[in-house]
């Protein structure tokens, strides 16, 4: 009898902040191969971070004064936080370095093209994504920047960098325009300027801010957005300096509450002030607050409106009915209690209103398998959530554009 083949043993390296995305995500690629390789998948929220290329963005600032100040900071003490209102000492997302892909640096030596595009492409291929929507990261807190003119200057520069440098290099990458919401007229100018750009598939307001979304100063902006047919997304975030959150002593606590808090405030104002009646065809998308807050807010607002209808006189239906017509993204999807999650998804018709988002490479990202593994969803619902709802909302073609999972696994370095 022939001797059995000796086993092939290879050592796998530790995954750290400079590991190749294809290695970090190899298990996700295997999941794709096993259960959703033939699905059309769109990731509505990813953050291949612009802060690694912050000097490129700063160099596009159109105001001479702010550009000079920003570049001086960049070369001096500010580095990739130049002009931004991030507090580095309080940025504890990586849990003391335990989650290495937060703030990761992709190894791209010898690869042609922009490193951002290379990193994004590897991430998309590894997770089995057809398209990915790029959101800003370092700019997520800019709504709290006390110098509103800095928000405008950085918004214009970021939008130029996105549309002129990044998006043209990969048709699978799409963008949402950053709106400097503290300055409505600057938002209007940007919406008009980029109206015909096909790579821009929507508009983003970073939710971490204290602007009332129903304010009359935004009415022309909402009309322009409604007429464009492209969605308006509110991307949530955190702010430890917000007085309520200043009571919380751990990043975990502040993060858990603040991401849901800002979108709850904005949805509440949007509905109670009858914005869905005043802008009936605007497409509202709520990003990165998970799902558990949605049925809470539906029930809470319905309860209040029934008792106090004179304070919401523009409504012709209950708040939950309007909320069922909005769209939501999945991540970070709370799923420690499947019965609760199932009820949550039913509450807002997830089958048609929910869009998969990864948030890659942030620490609390979700793989597409978080959807394919749900025991209570039909295959039809899974396909909708993973890509077909996004295709309908953003008018994306649904032909496959991603490589096969098998070819991605073959091409990966395999060092870790």
């Amino acid at each position: 009898m022939a001797e059995p083949e000796p086993p092939a043993i290879t050592e796998l390296a530790e995954i750290n902040g400079t590991s190749d995305s294809r290695d970090v995500l190899a298990h996700a690629t295997v999941q794709a191969q096993q259960s959703y390789d033939d699905y059309f998948v769109v990731d509505i929220d990813a953050h291949v971070s612009e802060d690694h290329f912050w000097d490129e963005v700063l160099s596009l600032v159109d105001n001479d004064y702010w550009r000079d100040l920003g570049m001086t900071q960049f070369e001096g003490f500010g580095g990739k936080n130049a002009l931004l209102n991030i507090t580095p000492g309080m940025s504890q997302q990586s849990v003391g370095g335990r989650i290495g892909h937060q703030g990761r640096r992709e190894p791209v030596a010898g690869v042609d093209g922009h490193p951002f595009v290379t990193a994004a492409g590897r991430g998309m291929d590894s997770m089995g994504l057809d398209y990915q929507v790029v959101f800003p990261s370092a700019m997520l807190l800019l709504g709290m920047h006390p110098q509103t003119e800095v928000e405008v200057a950085l918004a214009r520069a970021f939008n130029r960098w996105l549309t002129e440098v990044i998006l043209p290099q990969d048709p699978r990458l799409k963008g949402m325009l950053y709106l400097p919401y503290n300055t409505p007229e600057a938002c209007e100018e940007l919406v008009e300027r980029y109206a015909d750009n096909d790579d821009i598939i929507g508009y983003t307001v970073c939710s971490t801010r204290n602007n009332p979304v129903h304010s009359d100063v935004y009415l022309r902006l909402y009309s322009l957005i409604q007429d464009s047919g492209k969605p308006l997304a509110f991307h949530s975030g955190y702010h430890w300096g917000d007085p309520s959150f200043a009571q919380l002593n751990r990043f975990l606590s502040m993060h858990a509450l603040s991401f849901t808090h800002y979108n709850q405030i904005h949805v509440t104002n949007w509905i109670i002030n009858a914005m869905p009646e005043r802008f009936p065809t605007i497409k509202m998308l709520w990003v990165e607050s998970g799902l558990a807050w949605i049925p809470f807010l539906m029930q809470r607002l319905d309860h209040e409106v029934l008792m106090r209808p004179s304070e919401a006189p523009g409504l012709t239906r209950l708040p939950s009915e309007y909320m069922k017509e909005m769209w939501y993204t999945t991540q970070p999807m709370e799923r420690t209690d499947m019965e609760l999650l199932e009820a949550t998804m039913k509450s807002f018709n997830a089958e048609t209103q929910l869009l998969y988002s990864s948030d890659w490479p942030h620490w609390d990202w979700d793989a597409p398998s978080t959807i394919t593994n749900l025991p209570f969803l039909s295959e039809h619902a899974k396909r909708n959530i993973l890509g077909l709802n996004a295709a309908r909302l953003f008018n994306l073609p649904t032909e496959r554009v991603k490589p096969s999972a098998a070819s991605v696994l073959d091409a990966r370095p395999g060092r870790s």
């Binding site: 086993p7 050592e11 796998l12 290495g100 609390d364 990202w365 793989a367």
Partner: protein, 122 residues
């Protein structure tokens, strides 16, 4: 398929390095040494299927409470955690169980030493 025994490392090397992660014909597992004991766990996280053994391997964080019930975080000199690099789930290296929710755990792989050889059964 029936299990087979495979010699994967030298015991002295495992004790010295503390953790070695290997793929054996495509089956990935982490070998660990801690407090004179050895363990092997599948490189598969119960959370989202991440490569749990390829993250950090470090002392567990503990709550240090003094006589007056004042609390502060500290670092254990006794327990070590396997930290999944995808989202930070932490598992005790000797029990394979999540440090807060014991129902969440890694999959054990039978491991033994014979002389200086570390042998796993897969």
């Amino acid at each position: 398929m029936s299990r087979r025994e495979v010699t994967v490392a030298s015991l002295a090397e495992l004790h010295e390095r503390g953790r070695i992660v290997v793929s054996i014909d495509g089956t990935e597992l982490g070998l660990y040494s801690h407090a004179g004991e050895i363990r092997a766990w599948r490189n598969l996280c119960p959370h989202q299927g991440g490569p749990a053994c390829q993250g950090k391997f470090l002392p567990r964080t503990i709550e240090v409470v003094d006589d007056a019930k004042r609390a502060a975080p500290g670092i254990s000199s006794e327990h070590k955690s396997i930290v999944c690099p995808w989202h930070g789930f932490e598992f005790d290296v000797l029990t394979g169980r999540h440090v807060v929710d014991e129902r969440v755990h890694l999959i054990a792989v039978p491991i033994r030493s014979q002389g200086d050889e570390v042998i796993v059964s897969i």
